[in-house]
Each structure stands twice: as C-alpha cells, then as structure tokens.
C-alpha cells in the first residue's frame, strides 16, 4: 500500500464547548480509496468535513488535503474537491440550468457538453425551479455541481438522506462509478448498510471521537459465521447445547440457539444436526452495525 495520502488529519480538534465538537481526530485517506464516515446525528461528521474543506478553523491539531493545510489554503484545495453539502441550499437563482451555468462560470468551464451529458444520464430536468425541486432533484443537481470540474477528491455529506430507496441505489451507483475512475471518495452517512456495501474502509465516529476504522474486506470475508438454529423438540435442543459449540445467543423459550462457527467447522455442524428435528437454520449476517456494536462494547463506550 504505497498510495499517496490525500486527506490527513492529526489530532484534529474543534471544541464547541460543553463536550460538543470533535476531539483528536486522526484520519488518513489514500488516493483512490472510498471511505465511509459513519456516526449518529451530531457525532461530528459534518464538523470534520467542514474542517477538511477549510470552512472552519480547528481549535488545535492539523488538517490537510493534498499536503495543504485546509483553513489557510481552502481556495486552493477547493479546486481539487467536489463537495456535496449535507444541507443543500442553492443560490438565489431561478432554475437549475441557471445554477449549473453559474457554477460552470465560476470554474471557467466553457464546454458544457460534459455537464449536459451528466444531466441526461441522471434524467434531471434542470429547467425546474430551484426552490421547488424535490430532494432527489436537488441532490442530483448538487452532485452534478460537485462533479463538474472533475476534482480528484469527492466529499459527500450524507448524500442519500431523504432519498427514496430506488433513488438511493441510483445515486450510490453514480458515486461508485466515479470511484472506479480513480477518484478518492469520502462519504458520510448515518446509515451502516449504505456504506457497508460500497466503501473500502469505514470510519466510525461517536461523540466527536473516532471509535474504530473498519476494513470492509475483513468484515465481508469473516472466517466465522453465525447460525441461528431452532429445534422442534426440547430433547434435540438440549442435546445440541451439550455439544461444544460457541453459543452466542440462547433462547430457551423457542428452543433456539445462535452459534458462531468457523468456516472449517461448518461440516461438523451439519453432521451434528443430521439426526435432529430442525425447525429451521439460517445464517445471521454479520453486519457493520454489529461489528461496531461489538467494538463499542469492547472499548467501553455506551
């Protein structure tokens, strides 16, 4: 992994007082990575992003993009960042077309063909009144504005909030596509399932502190899997419990157990269950959420 680090923070702290803000955030995002940034509402995701973009001045610590300190060089790094804000507020202009044209003017882009191409691909009607656009249209417009100047880093602050599931999938697909082109993507979300399918790396933040950085490959290809087994009679249930499996959940009432099985032990399990009267057996998917829950417990956060 000798890829260049494009986003870096060192002990980044922005203290708003009363324990609000972000504290000692250390991030390293390498070129071409797609990183998810997960945390509950108010955990400091947006604050971190604002620091990265240089909109706010850190209380202490460093924060740099492409080796340029964010706050001091915000206009320089802006050239390399496409940003979709969490709360989209468009300028006071009549239509989406006027807005996109205005943005193109800011970037001194003369050739509108690329923009028109994106518009048609997203099936966006930019003639619509900016104020009356639906959330989805606004997000699309904002995404086009962020992609317009082909910046190598894309920072998205909860881009899918408020989108319907279908729209969300289409939206994520577009971001993935950009990722495939080699862009570095930093996307915040408060939904685990959204980032777990798409990102290479997921950073969990809670109460302004980074709790864990998870490598999605490791989670996806875990060597242990959980199975939920329910028996039709108590005898089998008791017999099974007596076997030396790692039981992580036991529900006597339903004659149900959840066991954790290493991949190489899977055949043993089926052998043991062969003579039992089973109601069902199902794999309990190990989700990111679960992973973080464990981590939070482990590290003593509540």
């Amino acid at each position: 992994m000798d890829k260049e680090v494009v986003i870096k923070t060192e002990n980044l702290t922005k203290d708003y007082g009363k324990n609000r803000g972000i504290f000692d955030i250390n991030l390293e995002i390498k070129r071409g990575e797609m990183v998810g940034f997960v945390g509950t509402n108010g955990s400091g995701k947006t604050t971190t992003i604002r620091c990265l973009l240089g909109y706010i001045k850190p209380t202490s610590g460093k924060c740099s993009v492409l080796d340029m300190s964010s706050f001091e060089n915000s206009y320089k790094i802006a050239r390399n960042i496409g940003y979709v804000p969490g709360e989209i507020g468009f300028p006071d202009l009549p239509t989406g077309t006027a807005f996109l044209k205005g943005q193109a003017e800011f970037f001194r882009i003369k050739d509108m063909s690329k923009i028109n191409d994106m518009i048609s691909r997203l099936q966006l009607d930019t003639r619509a009144n900016l104020k009356r656009m639906s959330k989805g249209m606004k997000q699309k417009t904002a995404l086009i504005a962020a992609l317009m100047n082909d910046a190598e880093i894309l920072i998205l602050d909860e881009p899918t909030t408020g989108l319907d599931p279908l729209m969300r999938v289409a939206f994520i697909d577009m971001i993935k596509e950009e990722h495939k082109k080699g862009k570095t993507i930093f996307m915040s979300s408060h939904m685990f399932n959204e980032v777990e399918d798409t990102c290479d790396k997921v950073i969990l933040i809670s109460n302004g502190k980074i709790i864990d950085v998870a490598d999605m490959n490791k989670i996806r290809n875990r060597e242990e899997k959980d199975f939920k087994v329910e028996f039709n009679n108590v005898d089998d249930y008791k017999k099974f419990k007596a076997l030396n499996y790692k039981i992580i959940r036991d529900q006597e009432k339903y004659n149900q157990v959840t066991v954790s099985i290493k991949d190489e032990e899977i055949n043993d399990l089926f052998r043991d269950l062969k003579n039992c009267d089973l109601k069902f057996i199902s794999e309990v998917k190990y989700t990111l959420e679960k992973y973080f829950r464990e981590k939070i417990k482990e590290k003593g956060y509540v």
Binding site: R50, L53, Y55, I56, K57, S74, Y75, K76, A78, R79, I81, G82, Y83, P85, E87, I88, G89, F90, P91, D92, L93, A98, G102, Q103, E105, F106, F107, A145, A146, N149
Partner: protein, 507 residues
Amino acid sequence: MFSKALFKQSCKANYIMWTTITIAVCVMLAVLMMISGSGDLSEMRVGITNTIVQDSIENESEKRAVNYYDIVESNIGKPDNYQGESFLVSYGMLLKNAEKIATNRGYEKGTEEYYEIFSLLFSNFSKDDLKVLAGGLITEETIDQMVIDTGLGYNFLNYDEVNPNMKKEDYIREYCSSFLAINMTSDRGIEKALSGLKEYDFGLDDYSNLTYTNDAGEEVPKFVGESGKIYLKDLSNDSILTYQARLDYSTANVTDEQEIKAIKQSLIAEVGQSFLASMPKSVSESLQELGTMDLFNLITGSIFYKVAGLLLPIIYIIMVANNLIAGQVDSGSMAYVLSTSTKRKQVVYTQATFLVGSLFLMCLCTTAVSFICFTIIDRSMISMTYGQLALLNVGFFVTLFALSGISFLTSCIFNRTKHSMGIGGGLNMFFLVATILGLFGSKVLPNVVRIDSLNFFNYCSLITLFDEMSILSANTTFIPKLCVLIVVGIVCYVIGAERFKKKDLPL
C-alpha cells in the same frame, strides 16, 4: 480580488429588488418635487404671508387710529396735561411754521389744502427738517409722535371753523381717520411700513398687490393710492366707532377718573391688538415662521432626502446586505461559491462592491430624476440651486453608504439571517425612526408643529450627520459630518471583510 461570476450571480439575484426600489424612489422624488415646485405650495406660503402682512398693517392702522382719537379726545382744551410746557412751546412753533408754509404756498385758511399742510408737513419732511421746524426744542424720539399729535391737534383746534354742525366726537373721528389714511399712504408712511415687513421679504410690488374689492366691484389696492386712502379711512373710522361704543358702554356707570383711564387703556390695547398679537406668542411666532419658510427646501431636502427617500433604499440595504453574505451562509449556498476556489477575500470584496455599486447607481438615478424635475419646475419661488441639489444627492448616497456598511458588517459577522437582519436591519430602522421622530423636533419644521423635546432623537441617529440644513443654507458644516459618515461606512466594510475572512462557516 474580484469574482466576475459571483458579481453576475449577485446581480441576477437582486436586480428585481433593485429595479423596483429604484423606480419607486424616483417616482416618489419626481412627484414630490413636481408638487412642491408647482407653485401650489408657494402660493400657500404667499397666502400666509399676505394674510399676516395685511393683518398686521390693518391692526397697526386700527391701533393708531384709536390712539389718535384718544389723544385728541382727552386733550381737548387742556394742552397742559399733555407733554408739558416744552411741548407747547415747540407745538406752537410748529403750528406757526406750518401756517407760514401754507400761506407761502398761497393756500387760503379754511380750505382743505390749508389743513392738509399740517398733516403732510410731517410726512414729507425729514426728521432733521422737523427738528429745525421745532426750533431744536424736542428730542428726536418724540418727533414721530409729535408729527402725529401736532397734525391732529391743529386740525382739532380748528374744528368748529371747518364744520360747526358736527358733533365733537364725530369730528375728531373723521379727522383722525383722514389723517391716518393720508399719513399711511404717503411715501414716508409706505417706506416705514415696508421696513417693518422686511423679514417677510415683502417689497413695494407685493405691498401694492394687496387688494380689496371696492363698492364699484373693482379690485383696487388696499394700502396705496386713493383707494388705499378710502380703505384705511373706513378701517380707522370703524375701529374708532367700535372703541367709542365700547368705551361708552364700559364707562356708563363709572365716575372715577382713574378707573376710566384704566378702562380706556385696556380698551385701546384690545382694539389695537393684531391677529398675531392676540395669539400666544409661540403660535404667532410660528405663523410668522410659516410665512417666511421655504417649503420646497423643507419637502425636498429635509423630508425626502433625509427621511422619506431613505426608507426604501434602507429596506433594499437590509435585504441585499443580508442576501449577499449571511443569507448565503445560512442557506448553505455559500458552499457552492467557496467550493469553486473563490477566496473569501474575493467573495467579500465582490459582494461589497456590488452593494456599494448598486446604491451608487440608485443614487445616480435619483440625481438624474431630481435634476430633470428641477429643470421643469418653476424655480422663481425656490431658493435652492443646482449645486445644492447635487450636494443633497451626494449626502443621500453617503448616508446610504454608511447605513449599508452597518448592514454589511452584521451580515459578515453573523451566520444566521435572523441575527444579521435583526441587528443590522434593526439598527438601520432605529436610525430612520429616530430621524423621523427627530424631524418633529428639528428646526426645519415650523414651530407650530415642532415638538422641541423630540430633537433628542436627532442625537441618537447616524442619519443626523447628513446635515441637509447646512447644505441648503450654503455653509460648510456639512462637510466634516459627511466625512464622518464616509469613515463609518469604510470602517464597517473593512471590519466586516476581516471578520468574514477569519470566521468559521457552517457550510
């Protein structure tokens, strides 16, 4: 330093408001100037002046008539009571001299010409001549009174020779009236009256233009020429009649001489009271002020440029200053500007340029409109000059510049529209309201509607530094004040820009 794209965006976002407000201000200004310059208002002023002047002349006449009557009536046959011995000596000498003149001119005793000499004598001769005539026995201060008394006295002394069938009172009244009419329509009398009317800017032409409708239905001069004599004589006659009647009534059951004297004095004072003098002093003073004030200056200068005309541009300032910075930070759209690698310095410089530029353009429009209207209207009654009008427009712009600085400053400091508008707009509105209240206490308003204690508000408004009174009275005290406004504006813009460059933006 300057972002063309952002400037364009600001223009697109605000041009409708700018256009609407500019048109509204210009129309308001045009209508105001046309109305106040159309002559209707100056006619009103002339009307007020004429009324006051006429009233004071007429009352002066009445007062004098009653006074003459009283002097003559109470001194008949007992000259000792009047002015003492020295008077008698000089009086006799004057009579002798008057007689000499009349004889020299060949007037026969008993004719009207003969007696008129005694009246005219004192109207047509200078004070020095009179001194000589009086043989140096009287002081200058008493000459005026002596002129009257002597003329009257002589006429009276001969009354039974002229018209033996007449009652004494009627005779005195008749002669007092005639004497007064002749005296007041003489060159010397008119000159004297005009010098007393200087403060109203009242010339001989205006004086001659005061008319009344005579018995023949013609409009004739009230105070000059033959018609003036008739009018003044009737006026005096009436007032003396009134005085006589009231005196008879008041003294019917009074025998004590002291008491009668007191009643007479109070009656004379009452009859002689002019319309203005009969009112409380402040009211009469303010009416006089109304007659002398320049309504065009008041309406265009003090009311439009300093109060009414500021309102809409202030609303524009509050809205636009907020839209340019705080509104965009609040809504988040500033993110789109900053994400295009536009420096914050560029943003704040461009937006400040837009705000000041749009206000400047607005003021250019008002200047153009005001000059066009000023050219159209009849300026004969207006003291304002083109230069003063231009200076008013400059002051108007400088004031708006300073006020926009305040709104821009709060727009840069606060991230929320409500705070930026609430504080910046609130301050601006406070200044405007204070100026409106202060206007009622300022010296530009006539006393009758002025509430002096409200002048306090002028001391807590920034707009007071726009000293339109100084501009209109052509002195230079407005210059340092305007400089203060410019400094306030610049300081606000600079602080705002510095703050915006350094602050945290919630985008």
